[in-house]
Symmetry: C2
Subunit: 520 residues, 2 copies
Amino acid sequence: MAKPRHNSLIIVISIIIVIFISSSFSLASQPFKFRRAPRFPVKFSHQARPHLQQQYRYDTRYFWQRLDHFSFADHPRFLQRYLINTEHWVGPNRPGPIFLYCGNEGDIDWFATNTGFVWELAPSFGAMVVFPEHRYYGESMPYGSQEEAYKNATTLSYLTAEQALADFAVLITDLKRNLTAEACPVVLFGGSYGGMLAAWMRLKYPHIAIGALASSAPILQFEDLVPPETFYNIVSNDFKRESTSCFNTIKESWGELISVGQKENGLIELTKTFRLCRDLMKTEDLADWLNSAYSYLAMVDYPYPSEFMMPLPGYPIREVCKQIDSGPESTSILDRIFQGVSVYYNYTGEFDCFQLDDDPHGLDGWNWQACTEIVMPMSSDQDASMFPTNNYNYSAFQEECWQDFKVIPRPRWITTQFGGHGKCDVDLDPRDIKSVLKFFGSNIIFSNGLLDPWSGSSVLQNISETIVALVTKEGAHHIDLRPSTRDDPDWLKEQRATEIKLIEGWLNSYYREKKSTFNI
Amino acid sequence: MAKPRHNSLIIVISIIIVIFISSSFSLASQPFKFRRAPRFPVKFSHQARPHLQQQYRYDTRYFWQRLDHFSFADHPRFLQRYLINTEHWVGPNRPGPIFLYCGNEGDIDWFATNTGFVWELAPSFGAMVVFPEHRYYGESMPYGSQEEAYKNATTLSYLTAEQALADFAVLITDLKRNLTAEACPVVLFGGSYGGMLAAWMRLKYPHIAIGALASSAPILQFEDLVPPETFYNIVSNDFKRESTSCFNTIKESWGELISVGQKENGLIELTKTFRLCRDLMKTEDLADWLNSAYSYLAMVDYPYPSEFMMPLPGYPIREVCKQIDSGPESTSILDRIFQGVSVYYNYTGEFDCFQLDDDPHGLDGWNWQACTEIVMPMSSDQDASMFPTNNYNYSAFQEECWQDFKVIPRPRWITTQFGGHGKCDVDLDPRDIKSVLKFFGSNIIFSNGLLDPWSGSSVLQNISETIVALVTKEGAHHIDLRPSTRDDPDWLKEQRATEIKLIEGWLNSYYREKKSTFNI
């Protein structure tokens, strides 16, 4: 554990249990590899900051779910947790809408806390709010406990997106039946992986929900649907747009890191420079730690101070680059880097030393999902990227998944399930996911902020009249779903207003079709 | 076994391994129950009549499939059989179409033999033909053998429609990749349960196939989407339209059956009247045998002689009723009934005695599917039906499934997966399967003949411009898919011509979208 100056703060640095997907980064001139690729921001600790907890009112309930919806094998059921609030709901007769957040890879209460948009919207829509937790996360553990659920590949094997979608479908169907609310329209919300689930759910279960707001949902980050360099290029551009010298310093730092690490006592020197709590064992551990900081900074590059993952200032990359670029000219590259990432890892200044995550292959749920069906190829480009050059190496990836979980990934399964086989060079090939959306989907908003590195593998252009892309130049990872603040810029207010208008439109057209007189 | 006059004929009567879904038929005045409900016509014997075998040319191949597509549990893979013919295929560059028949609950070669339409169509379309077998049927047995696959509820648990659809999706995706045929449009065909699979596949995997001909696909035979009396009312009407006295004789016969059966030596009397090979043990066995005959007769009430399940004359119900109605006035009801069903069970006159199926709960694959997700409620109406009055009793059904398989059905799963929750009284409720088809589907033909008792739970009206219902008044169970004959009536030729035109339309619009110059 880190040693916080203030004992009252327990977590924080331990959050950096990071990243994986194990793109093997390798380059002749820079013979080390990152052992982790980016993942979505998720608070891993079960403890949230006290003042953020239960910011919104809800009941916590539990629903017995089947472990395998797609077979009749006699598995033990498990309790899925869900949060529910009906205080603003206008009831089954109107019929009042149901806002359903598609829980993603973490504690559902943390997502509830960070998805203020849904809570703020509910009263004016007279909506019920439901936040079901994703199986294998938080308290929704098969086999009775996390320990049992995460025991091995057999117990983990039902941790898939299709099963999670079926959980949502079964839960909401049952909930509606119990409330005689069958006619109540469901609107899906989701951010990040949860946004992917919301979009996929609208495609696969159109009868369950009338529309979906899929915020920062990189549904194209599979196979070769987008160039694998997309993610790191956007992170790099986020730094470059603040300062070219900052970008260059970071780009140079990797070589410097290696050359120091290879010196006699080099690891000790790096331990000191980066104020690590424990002796550095491998330069890669430090590189991974830095990579994480840059990648997350790009995701949470919000225009106002936030505490989504870490306490950070507004536009944190600007602050990081300010630190990297400042100081006397004689300041070493690595000292500059340390000053920079300290903005991310220690903005409050509460830490004396830093704890790296040196178990990148920890058996967490997302690692499992990344090693099975959510296989997202990532490379790093020699020119446009500030990261070490890297070509995605599927064999190495597969090998590591076998080492970690004794499982073989199915990199083509998601595109077989949801579409995506079309060649990238054909506009709207009937086989690709965009065509599926165009010809078979409706009422989905893909919202993205271009600072978010995941935006490059989401949907950035309108696909049809009802499959709409909302893009903000200055937005980061699902900023629209976050609670509103006094500092919200106008473009964010406008984006949310558009989303509200679109959702109103879905509901009104549902009510028209139902010939209901209910009005929002 | 039956004792055939001609030793060369092995099967035939044993085919009547019938029917289940165990609607408990009961009526105060007629205190016996049918232990079987109707099922689709499928040749159960692995041996087909020699002259029907390999009528069409194809290669038989095998593909390693996953047992569970929706989990990562480490199950042994199994070999899925598929039949393939590429001799007329114009190849990947044109790009030539692929006609894919969605194999249903039986040997795929029997379906291939009985689906002449696809084979006859392929040359003019320059199409490849592929007939994948449904898992757990024919040779496509998990765990290496039928004995192992059907051992118990655990080994059977992966016999579901969703897994079968995923099999088709994975197989065709792999096949196309291996042939560099990714751009080749796939057209789905299917009859009966295979037609349900074709329609569902088009809904759930629109990127895999550009359209589907779903012939006689009762996708509405779930929960309360259609009145449960629908099936037996249509069977009954098929008889009534030929002869009211025939209908009345059958309607009266059930009471007569019971009253004879209850007499001293009554079972012996029934054994003699119906020329049974073995002593009748229960009146129900005989009632089931008669029920089967009537139900199948309605399905295969084709306008020309056929041998789909049994060798039969054209319009066989007319012939059955002729036998029931003829003979001197003094002829007893049960003698009339025997003469009638002999048309079905013994049209060639080759049998001296008849073998009932007295193991209605035999562990066959369809019984499993009917006891798990394909739960089709069936009742028999007091007035409109010629069968004993019966109200569908789900509890009794569930109890029998538990007895037979140690499995609990999920009667609501299919509607959760594919839609159907809308109330019947609301036209195009956004939650019902018809709305799903209208708003999210396209390019599906639902073809039905109104003599077919399954037609009542299929789609009989156009739902949109591209979800088309083709209905023939005189058609029976997926007659359009059968090989063409010299005796085909004009309405059948017209129906097929319309289907061809619609399929051409799908292909042409695909090619237009692809900006390809390929023309059929």
